[in-house]
């Protein structure tokens, strides 16, 4: 019993971070209808920036979010302008757009690998190696901070979408792009903004990934497959779905990892993905998507 609860605690504590990692992905899909296969590559890029700040300026990875998020926002806006602004409006080009994000992921991975070599890296702030004990249970301090921070950012995102005019316009665009355009929403600008926000969210999660996991450039494939599986489970384009999917699958993966060994924990996500595709392709909370 104690062990079961412990596994659930560890699973949930990673689930929050996975939810943050997936939030940008699902937001971008919701507004633009494209799956950004480079999302995890951008997360790794943000981890490397955090790592650089930590190594050369001794900046705490959590504090560095203040720098990494705006930087990644600008990167996102630039990437959107260069690659997606023209092809986004045309649904026939969406298959090609996904391939484009795939190619961007290859470029990021290759460039990072070339510049910094494909070795394991992680930042090591003091809290990365200590744990909080309460009763018979423990929680690594790093995961505790990461979970809280993810929750704060996700609540902030939710409030932004719910209570601001821009957030209202974003939700309208997610709901029906054409109708939003008809009533005067500048969908192009909204798309650009959302891509920037998505990348900023990737930046924040990348900063946390830098002390939660050891990262190397080619790790992003594993991450992106995990993110996509929980986004598909929750329903593409649904933020709440991404959160639920992240929590459910992280706990499941924690159990698999504990009983069968950590090698098999990613398999949880892939098998979940195929199971969902087989029985409920639209996910738990997604509407039936027409591609």
């Amino acid at each position: 019993m104690t062990q079961t609860v412990q596994i659930i605690i560890l699973g949930l504590s990673l689930g929050g971070v996975f939810a943050l990692m997936a939030s940008g992905l699902t937001l971008i899909f919701g507004v633009m209808g494209i799956i950004n296969l480079a999302h995890a590559a951008f997360i790794i890029l943000a981890s490397f920036i955090t790592f650089g700040l930590f190594k050369y300026f001794a900046l705490d990875p959590i504090l560095s979010i203040v720098i990494v998020m705006p930087v990644m926002f600008i990167v996102g806006v630039a990437v959107y302008r260069i690659f997606f602004a023209r092809s986004i409006a045309d649904p026939n080009k969406r298959g090609v757009t996904v391939l484009l994000t795939f190619a961007i992921a290859l470029v990021i991975e290759g460039t990072l690998g070339f510049l910094f070599s494909n070795i394991y890296r992680s930042t090591s702030p003091s809290y990365a190696s200590s744990a909080i004990l309460f009763g018979p249970y423990y929680l690594p301090e790093a995961q505790f901070y990461a979970t809280i921070l993810s929750a704060v950012i996700l609540i902030g995102l939710w409030a932004f979408l719910q209570y601001t005019r821009t957030g209202y316009a974003i939700r309208a665009t997610m709901h029906n792009r054409t109708a939003a355009e008809v009533v005067g929403v500048n969908v192009d600008r909204i798309s650009m903004l959302v891509f920037g926000i998505g990348m900023a969210l990737a930046g924040a999660s990348g900063a946390m990934v830098s002390f939660l996991f050891s990262v190397y450039p080619s790790k992003h494939w594993e991450f992106v497959a995990i993110l996509l599986s929980l986004v598909v489970l929750g329903g593409m384009g649904s933020l709440l779905g991404a959160l639920v999917g992240a929590l459910v699958l992280s706990v499941a993966a924690a159990f698999v990892s504990s009983y069968y060994g950590p090698v098999w924990s990613p398999v949880t996500f892939y098998l979940a993905l195929f199971t969902i595709l087989l029985f409920r392709p639209q996910g738990l909370m997604g509407k039936k998507a027409e591609f």
């Binding site: 799956i35 090609v96 190619a103 460039t111 690998g113 497959a225 990613p266 195929f274 595709l277 998507a289």
Partner: protein, 336 residues
């Protein structure tokens, strides 16, 4: 009268183009089949044999990928799974039962094809981006399974004995094997393109809902196309593992391998018969040049990605597709 005359002249022009195309293809076949004679006569051409057989293999792979990715429009980033299945099936049969991959290759193709039919039943329930995701997950899942399967050496891979032949001839069986696979797969692609099945696949790529309404058994067609596209990739994998004498999940199942399948086909022009052939020849040659100049580093990965970006942004129809749109396609390359 004039219309009849122009129709007649058009017909004879068509006859000319068919004849020139036939001549071109016959010439290609004769030249590729006769090339090893130079090696027998003079020797020292092992590097060229290697490059050519590598190109043939990729011609086969690109033409096969084109069946599902080009004709049906379902972009799969996970076709290297079939490559791995073929390679490992042949290696197991060879290492544990002593059956040479040259004999088992068609069987390995069938194994890859049956896996494709089964996998297709699951992944082809989705369209568009979700399908692409499922193919990536497939690669990662297969890699983890092979990494942990001790019978085939896990992540360390398995070694196979060398083909016992003098060094100047050892590449020839592989050369002809890959040549046969390449020709057969291009022929299959051609026959599919001309068939009712191929027409159905192209209707699916245009508008799947309408295709279904028009009475095309879309689900059956898609699964069949997915399976068929696995056959020659599996066969090529069987020979390639033996040729390398070493198999590991990292060789067959990196994302980059699957990405190159896609890039070659798109570069040449997906949905055409000659496109994948041209794409494979150009891409492998360019890649070889790049690797020999700059080394097979991470830079190669970045360059592959960059090339893919450029092609997608400026020539999404590929070389042949773009030429065709402009009406400048050389007749000898119009194999549809």
């Amino acid at each position: 009268m004039s219309s009849a005359e122009s129709a007649l002249s058009q017909k004879s022009a068509l006859g000319d183009s068919v004849a020139s195309r036939r001549f071109f293809i016959a010439f290609l076949l004769a030249a590729t089949a006769a090339f090893p004679l130079l090696q027998v006569a003079f020797g020292g051409l092992n590097y060229w044999l290697h490059m050519l057989l590598f190109i043939y293999m990729n011609v086969a792979i690109a033409s096969s990928w084109n069946i599902i990715g080009g004709y049906a429009g379902y972009i799969s980033l996970g076709h290297n799974v079939f490559f791995a299945i073929g390679g490992y099936a042949a290696a197991i049969l060879f290492a544990y039962h002593g059956i040479s991959p040259f004999i088992s290759a068609p069987l390995c193709g069938l194994i890859a094809m049956s896996s494709g039919l089964l996998i297709g039943m699951v992944t082809l329930r989705t369209r568009g981006p979700t399908f692409i995701i499922s193919t990536i997950a497939l690669v990662l899942l297969t890699k983890i399974l092979l990494d942990n399967w001790r019978y085939v050496g896990g992540a360390n891979g398995m070694s196979l004995p060398l083909l016992d032949m003098p060094v100047e001839f050892v590449k020839l069986p592989f050369y002809y094997g890959m040549l046969i696979i390449a020709v057969a797969s291009v022929y299959l692609s051609f026959r599919i393109r001309r068939s009712k099945f191929g027409l159905g696949l192209r209707a699916i790529s245009q508008d799947e809902t309408k295709a279904e309404v028009a009475g095309i058994p879309t689900r059956f067609y898609k699964i069949l196309a997915f399976g068929l596209s696995g056959f020659f990739i599996g066969t090529a994998g069987a020979l390639w593992g033996y040729y390398l004498t070493y198999l590991s999940p990292a060789i067959f199942l990196s994302i980059l391998v699957g990405a190159k399948f896609v890039l070659m086909t798109i570069l040449g022009g997906r949905g055409t018969v000659a496109g994948p052939v041209l794409g494979a020849v150009l891409f492998i040659s360019a890649n070889e040049f790049f690797v020999s100049q700059f080394g097979a580093t991470e830079l190669n990965l970045a360059a592959t990605g960059l090339l893919l970006i450029l092609v997608l942004m400026f020539f999404p129809e590929g070389i042949l597709g773009t030429l065709k749109q402009k009406g400048r396609l050389p007749k000898i390359l119009d194999w549809d």
